[in-house]
């Protein structure tokens, strides 16, 4: 005991704590009469989410994103593999004590008002009433629902419900949030507001596990992104890894480039595609961009347009998913 505690600080190497870690986590649902139909919702997922990150889990519908959250929160039980949240084994009450959850397509009792809903679920979380009223009101303010605090939620729009769901997830001020498609059904302005709330929360030190089938919802705010397809992880990495592909531009020329111009271009950057007057060029950084443009100009070629290739990440996403879908 003494030995352990007297280890000097510089030897006490502590890696960043994994908030979520899974090893070969798999889930096969058995449905139908006699449980004959088997659906492999997740197959051998291993990942870890570190403290203070926004972790974006991406994938098309049916990829298994919701299933993964449900396993982590003990709402469904894994078929095999292991996982821990905040160091606690799956299914333990300690996990649920310390997380906030916004389920996909959540439904609150429609006869309650927004404020009553927060009071109801706050009490279920074990938050004392004295603390709860103020907390609920400030969260309604944060999510822009103050004016509708006493309105029955059966009259709420989808966007308002999502914001209420977010307020509910934040009630106990948990260090970890699991948000399943938080911007689903929300209009563009509302989506921006929700993203802003999430960035503010991350700045406050929260770890956020974010599910989405829409890349644009995740790429802007996530620190790390995992891509899930048909129950398998096909990519995990920092957003920078992926957004490197962003430096891809489309150059429309007034005339097709000569072979000499092309070889000059290929000497400047690795990836050049030609199709008639159009070039697709891949840059590593902005200085390369200038070099390429100068080269084109000195070769006497006029530019009709020069534009970053739109949602390259989207393409990358689709590329990642493609081979598996064909298989």
């Amino acid at each position: 005991m003494i030995l352990l505690t007297s280890i000097p600080d510089f030897l006490n190497f502590s890696p960043p704590m994994a908030i979520v870690s899974t090893t070969n986590l798999s889930k096969t649902y058995e449905t139908g009469i006699f449980r004959k139909t088997q659906i492999a919702a997740l197959s051998g997922v291993s990942l870890s989410v570190e403290d203070g990150q926004i972790f974006g889990l991406l994938g098309p519908n049916g990829a298994g994103k919701t299933t993964l959250i449900k396993l982590l929160l003990g709402i469904a039980h894994p078929t095999s593999g292991e996982a821990a949240v905040l160091g606690h084994p799956l299914g333990s009450v300690a996990i649920r004590q310390n997380i906030g959850y916004l389920p996909e397509n959540h439904r609150y009792p429609p006869f309650l008002s927004a404020l009553q809903t927060l009071m109801y679920f706050g009490r279920l979380h074990g938050i004392p009433r004295s603390h709860l009223v103020g907390r609920a009101r400030s969260l309604l303010a944060l999510t822009g629902l103050s004016d509708w605090a006493t309105m029955k939620i059966k009259k709420f729009s989808k966007g308002m419900l999502q914001r209420l769901g977010l307020a509910q997830a934040l009630l106990a001020d948990p260090p970890v949030l699991f948000l399943d498609e938080p911007t689903d059904g929300v209009d563009p302005i509302g989506r921006k507001e929700i993203r802003d709330i999430l960035t503010t929360l991350r700045r406050g030190g929260k770890t956020i596990f974010l599910n989405s089938h829409m890349l644009s919802e995740v790429e802007e705010i996530s620190d790390r992104v995992a891509i899930l397809n048909k129950g398998r992880l096909v990519h995990v990495g920092s957003v920078k890894d992926i957004t490197a592909h962003r430096l891809e531009y489309e150059i429309q020329l007034t005339a097709p480039p000569s072979p000499e111009v092309l070889s000059g271009l290929r000497a400047l950057c690795k990836h050049v595609e030609v199709s008639g007057n159009r070039l697709t060029v891949h840059f590593f950084d902005q200085t390369q961009t200038q070099a390429v443009l100068d080269h084109l100009r000195t070769s006497g070629l006029a530019l009709e347009s020069f534009s970053p290739k739109k949602s390259k990440l989207e393409d990358y996403f689709i590329q990642l998913l493609k081979p598996r879908e064909e298989a």
Binding site: A76, V93, R96, Q97, P103, R107, F111, F121, R123
Partner: protein
């Protein structure tokens, strides 16, 4: 503490949904009927109970005895319907927790699934029990004040419906968990209700279907393995005016028999345990 809260919130849910309110209004209408209609008359030297002026005391039974007799009839005849009515009011409370989109919210709270299930069941029963006791005490007061007959046995019998409903609700809990459906829960609980009546009288009703000893033993097992509703009601009826009934040598005056309650406690505990086990394993 959280579990207690869930019970209270469940109770509030059934109040807000209006089902309990309906139950409460109907109870009050019946009470009002008795307040207005019940009377006492001193015709021909004997005291008789009247409803809207016409005598309801059976011939030869007068005064306090008539109250006991009528309360027995009332209890034996209405408990069945009251329980049934209570079932309609509460059968939806477990399925409403299990609805897609809602169940995730409940299951992500720091409560065990067992306490979720039992607090929900307790909250459901609490509303009905509150109503039942309110109704019983009011009836007791009305008969006491109007006819001067304070029959404590009626209150005891009313209290015995508390465990009755809780035992019966185990059937609802199991069906609700297995089907996730209010409709199925009500339907199955209804079928069970009538089936349990037939089971209690299996020697006369069900044995004759098939004269096979294995079938007969199977029915016996079923009878003991499920809550025994009509035997409990019959037994509790004996709490009302027991000595009087025995002294008149009336039929079925066997006195209060705790056995149906004991068996129902055991079988419903088994059903609740199964429900909790099933719930704990299920994926949502």
């Amino acid at each position: 503490m959280k579990a207690l809260w869930l019970s209270v919130l469940t109770l509030r849910e059934s109040v807000l949904k209006g089902t309990l309110l309906f139950f409460f209004i109907v109870s009050n209408l019946i009470l009002l009927f008795f307040v207005i209609a019940l009377g006492v008359t001193e015709e021909g030297g004997t005291t008789s109970l009247t409803l809207f002026g016409s005598i309801i005391s059976p011939r030869g039974i007068e005064g306090f005895n008539a109250v006991q007799f009528i309360l027995r009839q009332l209890f034996a005849g209405s408990t069945f319907w009251v329980l049934l009515f209570g079932l309609f009011a509460t059968a939806g409370l477990i399925p409403s927790m299990l609805e897609k989109g809602t169940v995730e919210l409940y299951l992500s709270k720091p409560l065990s699934r067992t306490s979720l299930l039992f607090s929900r069941a307790a909250g459901a029963c609490a509303g009905i029990i509150f109503n039942l006791l309110y109704f019983a005490i009011a009836i007791w007061l009305i008969f006491g004040i109007k006819a001067g007959a304070w029959e404590g046995g009626f209150l005891l019998a009313a209290i015995s419906t508390v465990p009755m409903f809780f035992f019966y609700y185990s059937v609802v809990a199991v069906t609700a968990l297995m089907t996730n459906s209010t409709g199925f829960s009500i339907m199955f609980a209804l079928i069970y209700y009538f089936f349990s009546g037939a089971l209690a009288a299996r020697e006369q009703v069900l044995y004759i279907w098939w004269d096979n000893p294995v079938f007969h033993r199977l029915l016996d097992v079923l009878y003991y393995a499920t809550p025994q509703i009509s035997p409990m009601i019959e037994s509790a009826t004996e709490l009302i005016g027991p000595d009087f009934m025995r002294s008149r040598g009336m039929e079925s005056a066997g006195g209060f028999d705790p056995l149906p309650f004991v068996w129902s406690l055991l079988s419903s505990s088994l059903l609740y345990a199964f429900a909790a086990w099933y719930f704990s394993r299920k994926d949502y």
